[in-house]
């Protein structure tokens, strides 16, 4: 097959290389501000709400970390948008259909934030919009230039 010593060395490293490719997929993502802004823009979430206010809110609730899981009294909040199991997502498969976002809460902790964004859009349809998240009122109504990209 491969004739050169370099190629042979490469082949012997192959199992290690494959492991290196396979493993990162299981880690959480901590987005950077402008990375995340771009993704949110692509999903059109800023049609009705100002993007800097949303990004600011997300930083203060999850630090842009997809794996964030927080206990809030008797409820639990999941992922980058801190979506709650008090009706938005379901802890158990049999309750998924009853939840507003029709999703298992654990799915909101993985690297793929498409489902998180879809659910957040539903939350933003509430009359309080961004004020659904307490962090918004506290941190994200002024001093907003810093959240622009």
């Amino acid at each position: 097959m491969f004739q050169t010593p370099e190629a042979a060395k490469m082949m012997s490293l192959l199992p290690l290389i494959l492991l290196g490719i396979a493993l990162p997929a299981t880690q959480a993502i901590q987005y950077r501000k402008c990375e995340l802004s771009q993704i949110l823009r692509e999903h059109g979430i800023d049609k009705d709400i100002p993007l800097p206010e949303l990004i600011c809110t997300m930083f203060h609730i999850s630090g842009f970390d997809t794996q964030t899981e927080v206990n809030n009294n008797s409820n639990k909040e999941h992922g980058i948008f801190q979506i709650s199991n008090n009706g938005w997502c379901a802890e158990k498969q049999e309750d998924v259909a009853k939840s507003v976002c029709g999703i298992l809460c654990s799915k909101l902790l993985d690297d793929d934030i498409t489902d998180d964004i879809v659910c957040a859009k539903k939350i933003l349809q509430l009359p309080e919009r961004l004020d659904y998240w307490k962090a918004h009122k506290t941190f994200c109504r002024e001093n907003l230039d810093q959240w622009n990209c």
């Binding site: 930083f59 927080v70 009122k137 506290t138 941190f139 001093n143």
Partner: protein, 294 residues
């Protein structure tokens, strides 16, 4: 400036017995600074090695420059529970760093007794009060145990305005996560600290207490002073989330009410029970029972 030969003669030959001429002020900046430092957490460090490498330290982690009078007397207060490995790295990097800055300093590790939810700000209040019982410190540096500065031009002392020292953390991509951020490592003079009634005692769990402190400072007409993002670089020792220090879900509501609570929640309402004071070569460890959320 260095003492002239004539002055030295005068103080040793003609001055009253036992009276020593005061040393000149240490220069600002210190001539001993090296600038950027290599900071890594792969090789383990042990206390005996650190002691050997820092022979000028006195018991309890105290140091006073020999050749000049330090610009400030600084108490470094570290909130702590069950982070011995982090503390070893902290001492390993910070003792040489602080000595090069020619500060008159002491290290106070405030250890929360028991298994109740962690309360960082209350421990810092205790540190302020206990350090002052030992020495008339005029400046207080409050440092998390897992934050290591990467440049010794970032002087761990007090300034005209409250100082934020950990401005450029690796965890936040070496930039400030948000403008109002005041967490990690900060320095307040005794006056600045007293002006805001110290820190809040009612933040149990992770988050919010640093934002409350920021609010206190702003409401008292102060502003945050910072080094630039190069000098202010620091590394955080990566670790999993601590048990009993979960994100505090009340924090956003509490931060919104700093103005109303700061006059009644702080140094003037601080209650705790001292369990033990241990003087180690490299630091003073103060173990304290700070109670539980009321």
């Amino acid at each position: 400036r260095a003492p002239q030969p004539e002055e030295a003669t005068e103080s040793t030959e003609t001055g009253p017995p036992g009276k020593v001429r005061p040393l000149p002020s240490c220069p600002d900046p210190s001539p001993l600074l090296v600038g950027p430092l290599q900071v890594e957490f792969l090789r383990p460090v042990n206390l005996e090695t650190i002691e050997k490498e820092n022979p000028k330290l006195r018991k309890g982690g105290r140091f006073t420059p020999e050749d000049c009078t330090a610009l400030q007397k600084v108490a470094i207060i570290i909130p702590f529970r069950n982070r011995d490995e982090h503390l070893r790295y902290w001492l390993y990097y910070l003792h040489p760093f602080l000595q090069r800055q020619q500060l008159d300093y002491g290290i106070y590790v405030i250890n929360q007794d028991g298994e109740e939810t962690f309360n960082r700000a209350k421990l810092l209040n205790v540190g302020f009060q206990e350090a002052l019982k030992e020495y008339d410190y005029d400046c207080f540096v409050f440092s998390d145990v897992d934050l290591i500065p990467m440049d010794d031009r970032n002087t761990y002392r007090c300034f005209e305005q409250p100082r934020h020292l950990s401005v450029s953390m690796d965890k936040f991509g070496f930039s400030l996560p948000y403008n109002q951020y005041f967490g990690g490592v900060s320095a307040l003079s005794k006056e600045q600290f007293l002006k805001i009634n110290g820190f809040p005692n009612n933040y149990w769990g992770w988050g919010g207490e640093d934002d409350d402190i920021y609010n206190r400072l702003i409401y008292k007409g102060m502003s945050i002073s910072r080094p630039n993002a190069i000098i202010g670089k620091c590394r955080m020792i990566r670790h999993s989330r601590d048990q009993k220090n979960e994100p505090n879900p009340q924090r956003f509501d509490r931060i919104a009410h700093t103005r109303q609570t700061m006059n009644s929640d702080g140094l003037n309402s601080l209650k705790y029970q001292l369990m033990e004071i241990q003087k180690y070569p490299l630091y003073t460890k103060i173990t304290v029972d700070i109670g539980s959320p009321s």
